[in-house]
Structures are given as structure tokens and as C-alpha cells.
Subunit: 421 residues, 2 copies
């Protein structure tokens, strides 16, 4: 844990996002700033996308006299210290302040924690232009990566480039409600900023791995043989020496709780990839269990899936992604296990096979037409692999999209995987 | 797959053991000897521990006229091609021959597949003295390892030393009944014999890893710093050049089926350890789920357990055990996943916590007093670690024995694991 040094300034922390997972992370962070007020300002700002909310009768804050009156969500949170809409029943720390203005919420904050749907990153980044500290650092809690046929980009990178700051990533076997109830859990935080010369206020050159944490892979890079990182274009500002240094120790202090164990790593790409690719594996696990093949087959699919995740990281992110991130960390093997246990992708894939209907139909009947994360990721990853002639090297990922699109059936899985080297 | 060369002799295969798992493996092997009769004698002998069996009325072979007449199990198997007692309902290949005489069953066999309770290894080895081919090779399908406070030994090693042959190991996420029903599954076979000079008929020196596959670790070796392998004392005979070579390819041909996928490795110690240590992890998984902590906590326990398995292999078997055996193979991560899903250790541990009773009581009420594999392994591994002052380095393994013996409670687990490096 980080300890107090001779620093004249403390870090102010803002959480951007207040959904189910956002409110849970904000609770954790606010508990820690209070406990470590030598390092952090106690008060944590949480940006709330403002909406009018009527307290449900089941809420302990419900007042029959004013029951039907709609109130602002931010005011409810600041009055009752509960996000009655997205995290009902959980007491939030009183030093967590809901703020409907994102510009105001980030004012003077040197640590920005992003926890909002990835669709909002671009808009919020634009809105924040000129409002964030130039030397702030970010942690993205947004699961997954963005994949198209031409490139893979990380949400932490979108944030970093959007705001001109460095942004790490947090991911793990993290079902938000369990953590909010303080049931024990683990997570992984990847943080590996380039070294910045504090006098010049500009990077003295990225560290070998940091240079690869902001990656865009495009065919324009010269095809597969030449896939490599482009050095980040961001001119990073050094964190002023008045602050405690923003290193692994201080981020562990900010996020680690007795019920939420943090392991720090440097592999931002691996941490982010794990949260995306595991959803493809969860679909495959659902398929074989739905087919009635039992625990052996499910474990086999998970084993092969884990190996394809490792291979994908190595192949497309090179040394920036380590096998151990997938095989040893919460963001890898543990998150995959959780998703294959009872996650939405697993359950819907299982149901589709059991009822002999398409995933589209399950999405319609069970999710009101909302799409599963796994089906879109499977499609995107396949278009990325196909563009590089690499489908055959990822037999499980390829089997999943082929089953989803009717070119294979679940019965083909063993044969398709027998080709695995 | 191995292909026919210019060999004048074929391998004869014997399966020693005919329980649930033994009959399943014998079915697989017999299917493959039939398909690859260029390499193997079609007929596979299976040693049956003879007993008198009365066909149950539910059996399709039940004859009301002779219904109550007890018959010899070996005769039933050879008549109906079904092991009605230990693998009912599964059709066995007709080229699989049950044999109540183990000495006769192994006659002229160059491949011996061991699949019997480990308690019988010693007696059977003694019984087989002088009856096996001196150049035979073995594969042990017996799960786990033998651990005392002073040493860890592998069952494959017991067999090897008992018969003066080299013996590899097979282990994986392998629930026998699912495989017998030809539901898709995977397994791992470790095989890494020393190089033997075929002219001299004696080892020219073990291969670097093979020298460590026959290990006994004792404090007499000089304590922890000096834990190292002792070179096998067996004088191995070379397999005569008339036979197809007994290499990874031929064992894959013998065991791989469309529904039973085999991966060959060289890490006999890792393959064997995985099948033992996973049971400790399964108890821990049962504890946290029984406590109501949910999927995050279960995945966390499994992640930490996998790391302790890797660490244990590295620490006590050195380079003979590879991290990848645990993190990438069916015998490691996949077998652990299966055991933590619905295995007996998991279920009983969960029940003990839910009902707030001891595991002993669960063993009494649910297993007629039979002991769980996990509880004895946890105790043995703990005595081994304790003798070396290494308990603190394995916080999960140590937490499990401390919970079993009442020195800790499940609520202590997060704290105990926070010390994990």
C-alpha cells in the first residue's frame, strides 16, 4: 500500500458514470479515499447522467405523501446515499457526491475513473475538452475492446486520445451486484504509462511496453508481418511533484478493499481483450451444454477458448500482451469462468440449442431484442480474422460465428477443434 | 497419427482394471486397435477383478428364467459386451476381451494401460513379476499422486518401479460416464521415457526431463534448497526395432477418438499433480459458494488455486513440471473447472457450509462414511508443506486444511488470500 510522503497536494478522484457497475466502483473508491485521506481528497465526485426518478414503493426512502413525485437522480443519491435506480438497496458512502455536470465533476481531479457505456466515450471526451487537468490519469472500467475488420482499439485508448491523458484499464470476474454487497471478489488493473520527464512536462520516450498500450492495428501498417504498435501521439504531461506519484501502489490503495482484491499488471491490451473474447467462449460453452454434452465438454471449450485468447493477444498485440494476463489474472481465466457459469451469453446460447431456435430468436424473446455482447464480438472478431486469412488458426472463435450464422452446427465442434494444433 | 512402417510386429495392448473408468478407457483403446490394426493387435485384453454378478432386471440381457443366477463378471462382459456392474448400458467393442487372470492378460503385451484403484498397484505389480515383457511401456490412468510429509511420489512411478518399465500418465477433465456415452471430451497424456540404446538394451542416460519424471523427494535429499530428482533406478529395456516405435504419435493413435481428444505432453509430474491438487481447490470453491458469495468468489478461488498448483509443481518438481501443463492442458485448468462445477468435493464442501456442519458429518450422511479425495489430499499436502515450513506460501491450500480442522472459518478466506503475492 502507498504511504504518505512529503507531498503538499492530494489526488482528487472523479468517477464518470453511475450505472450498476459505475456506482459499485464509486462506492469502493469513496471508501478508500476516506480511509486514505493522506493521499486522496475524501470527497469523490460521481458524474450522473441526470434523469427523473420516482422512488419505488419498495424503497426504504419511499414517503407515501410525496410518493409519486419524480426527483432528480443526482439529488436522490445525495440525499439518501443510494442509487435507487441502478444499485438499489446498497448504501453509498456519504463522501460520494453525485454531480449531474460532468465538466464540474472532473474539475481539479487528477484521477478519472471511467465507467460508462462505451457508446458515450466520444461525446463525453468532447464535452470534457479543456475541463480536465492536463496531467490527469485515467482508469477505464469499461469492459471489452472495439474490433472492426481493419483494427482493434482499446476503450482506454479512446479515452486517452480523446482527453490527451494516459488511461489504464480495470477488468475482472466482477458481477457488480455481488461486489456492491461486499461479497468477496478479485479484479485486475493494468497501468503502464510512458515515462514522462517532469521538468520538460513531455514524454522522454515511452517505456517499451507502454509504447504498445496505445495500439491501433490497421492493414495500412503493412499486413500481418508488420503489425506493430504506433507510438502514442499524445504529448503526456508529467504529474506534478507536489502529488504522491501515480504508480501501481497508489492505484492499488485506491481500489483494493477487504472484499475487492486488486492485482496490478502492465498489460492493458490483455486486460481489455480478456473482457471481450471471453464472451465468444461463453457462447461456445452454452452451445455444448445446451447440446447435453456435460461438464467434460464445457471444460474443453473453456480450455481451448483460453488458449485462443492467449494466441490472439500474442499475435495481434505482440509483447504488449502476456499469456499470464489470461492464464493467471482475474481479467482472464477467472472472468471467463464466471461468464461460462451463468452469464447472459452462456444462458442464451444454451437455450438456443436446447430449444433448437436461433440466437436472434432468444435475443428477441429473452432480451427484448437487445443484442448479446458475445454475438457482436464473435462477428467483429471473425471479420478481423477473416481480413487477415487467420480464421483457421482460431477454430473455436470461427466455429462460434459459423454456428451463429448457420454454416456449422454444434455437432461439428469436436471435429473443428481436432484441427487445433 | 502414426502410420504403418516396415515393422514385423504389432503392439498388443492390455488394460489392467475394469471399473467405471477402466471399462471406459478399454472401450476407447479397443475401438482404436480395431481401426489401426496395422499398428496394434485388434484384440485388447482387459483384466477383470472377478466377482459374481446377478444381472439386474433393468438390464436388456436379463432373462427371467435364469434371472437370479449369479454369473462371473468376466463371462458377462465376454458374452454381452457390457460391464453390467460398473458401466451399465454401454456397448463394449467385441474385440475387448475380459480376462480374470492378470498374469494371462498381460502376456506378450508391449503396452500396459493401468486403470485400477491405487491401493492395488503394489499387489498387482508383485503378482505380475516375471509375466510382463521386459520392454513393455505403461500408461497410468490412475488420478492423483501419493503425498506424505516426507515425499511425493507418482503412481506411474510406483508402476514403473514395480515392473521395471517406463510408465507415463493420462489425466484430464474426464467424467467416465460422459465419455462412455461418447460425449465429447479431452484428455492429456504425459509420456517422456529416457532414451534407451536399443543395442545395449540399457538406458544411455535419461533425457533431461525424463530423469525427473521418476521422482522421490525426501528431506534426506538435503532439505528444500537441494530438493532434486534422483535418477530412476530402473534399467530400461529398449523396445525392439521390429515394433512401431512407442512415441507420442502412437499413443495419440491408441487413445484419440472423435469424441475423446488427446494432447500429448512430456510433463508426467504436472499431469499427475493436477489430478490431486484440484480436489483441494474444489473444496475451497464449495466453501465460498456454500457461504453464498457467488460466482466472483468462486472464480477467484479457482484462479488462486490454479496458481498454487503451478507454484507447487515448480517448487517441488523443478523443470520437470511446466506452468503450461496446469494453465493450458485438460489435466490442469479444465479438470479443475470440472471438479469445481459439480464434483463430489465441491458439492460436499458446499453442503457442509450451508448446513453449518463438518465435512466429516457430510461424509457420514452423504457418502456412507467414505472419505472425500480432497480432504485427505488437503491433509497430506499440508503435512508435506508444513514439514518444509512452506505453509504460508500456499495460502489457499493452507486455508482449506485450517477450515477443515476448525482453525479458520470460510469468512477468513479473503484475508488469508490477501497475503498472496
Amino acid at each position: 500500500m502507498a504511504t504518505l510522503g512529503a507531498f503538499s497536494k492530494k489526488h482528487k478522484v472523479t468517477v464518470i458514470g453511475s450505472g450498476n457497475w459505475g456506482s459499485t466502483i464509486a462506492k469502493i473508491v469513496a471508501e478508500n479515499t476516506k480511509e486514505h485521506s493522506d493521499l486522496f481528497h475524501e470527497q469523490v465526485q460521481m458524474w450522473v447522467f441526470e434523469e427523473e426518478v420516482t422512488l419505488p414503493e419498495s424503497s426504504k426512502h419511499y414517503d407515501p405523501k410525496t410518493g409519486s413525485t419524480a426527483q432528480k437522480l443526482s439529488e436522490i443519491i445525495n440525499t439518501y446515499h443510494e442509487n435507487v435506480k441502478y444499485l438499489p438497496g446498497i448504501q453509498l458512502p456519504s463522501n460520494l457526491i453525485a454531480n449531474p455536470s460532468v465538466e464540474d465533476a472532473v474539475k481539479d481531479s487528477s484521477i478519472l475513473v471511467f465507467n460508462l457505456p462505451h457508446q458515450f466515450i466520444k461525446r463525453i471526451s468532447e464535452q470534457l475538452q479543456g475541463h480536465t487537468l492536463p496531467y490527469a490519469r485515467g482508469i477505464s472500467c469499461i469492459k471489452g475492446v472495439h474490433v472492426t475488420s481493419s483494427e482493434i482499439s482499446l476503450f482506454s485508448e479512446w479515452i486517452g486520445e480523446g482527453l490527451g491523458i494516459y488511461c489504464g484499464a480495470l477488468s475482472g470476474a466482477n458481477i457488480a451486484n455481488e461486489i456492491a454487497e461486499e461479497k468477496w471478489s478479485e479484479t485486475t488493473i493494468a497501468y503502464d504509462p510512458p515515462v514522462v520527464d517532469s521538468r520538460a512536462g513531455t514524454p522522454t520516450g515511452p517505456s517499451p511496453s507502454a509504447s504498445q498500450t496505445n495500439l491501433v492495428i490497421t492493414p495500412a501498417d503493412g499486413g500481418l508481418k508488420d503489425v506493430r504498435s504506433k507510438t502514442s501521439k499524445i504529448k503526456l504531461k508529467a504529474v506534478p511533484a507536489e502529488y504522491p506519484p501515480l504508480d501501481h501502489a497508489i492505484f492499488k490503495t485506491l481500489f483494493h478493499r477487504p472484499y475487492f482484491h486488486v492485482r496490478m499488471v502492465s498489460d492493458v491490451a490483455g486486460v481489455s481483450l480478456g473482457g471481450a473474447l471471453k464472451n465468444i467462449v461463453a457462447l461456445a460453452a452454452g452451445f455444448v451444454v445446451g447440446r447435453g454434452w456435460g461438464d467434460n465438454a464445457k471444460a474443453a471449450v473453456m480450455r481451448v477458448g483460453l488458449l485462443e485468447m492467449v494466441k490472439f493477444g500474442k499475435e495481434f498485440f505482440g509483447d504488449a500482451s502476456r499469456a499470464e494476463t489470461f492464464t493467471e489474472e482475474s481479467c482472464g481465466v477467472a472472468d471467463m469462468i464466471t461468464s461460462c457459469s451463468g452469464g447472459r451469453n452462456f444462458r442464451c446460447a444454451k437455450m438456443a440449442v436446447e430449444k433448437n431456435i436461433s440466437i436472434d430468436e432468444v435475443e428477441k424473446s429473452e432480451l427484448n431484442g437487445q443484442k448479446l455482447q458475445g454475438t457482436s464480438t464473435a462477428k467483429e472478431v471473425n471479420s478481423f480474422l477473416k481480413a487477415r486469412g487467420k480464421e483457421a488458426d482460431y477454430p473455436l472463435f470461427t466455429a462460434v460465428i459459423n454456428i451463429l450464422e448457420g454454416r456449422n452446427t454444434v455437432d461439428d465442434i469436436p471435429d473443428l477443434l481436432a484441427r487445433e494444433v
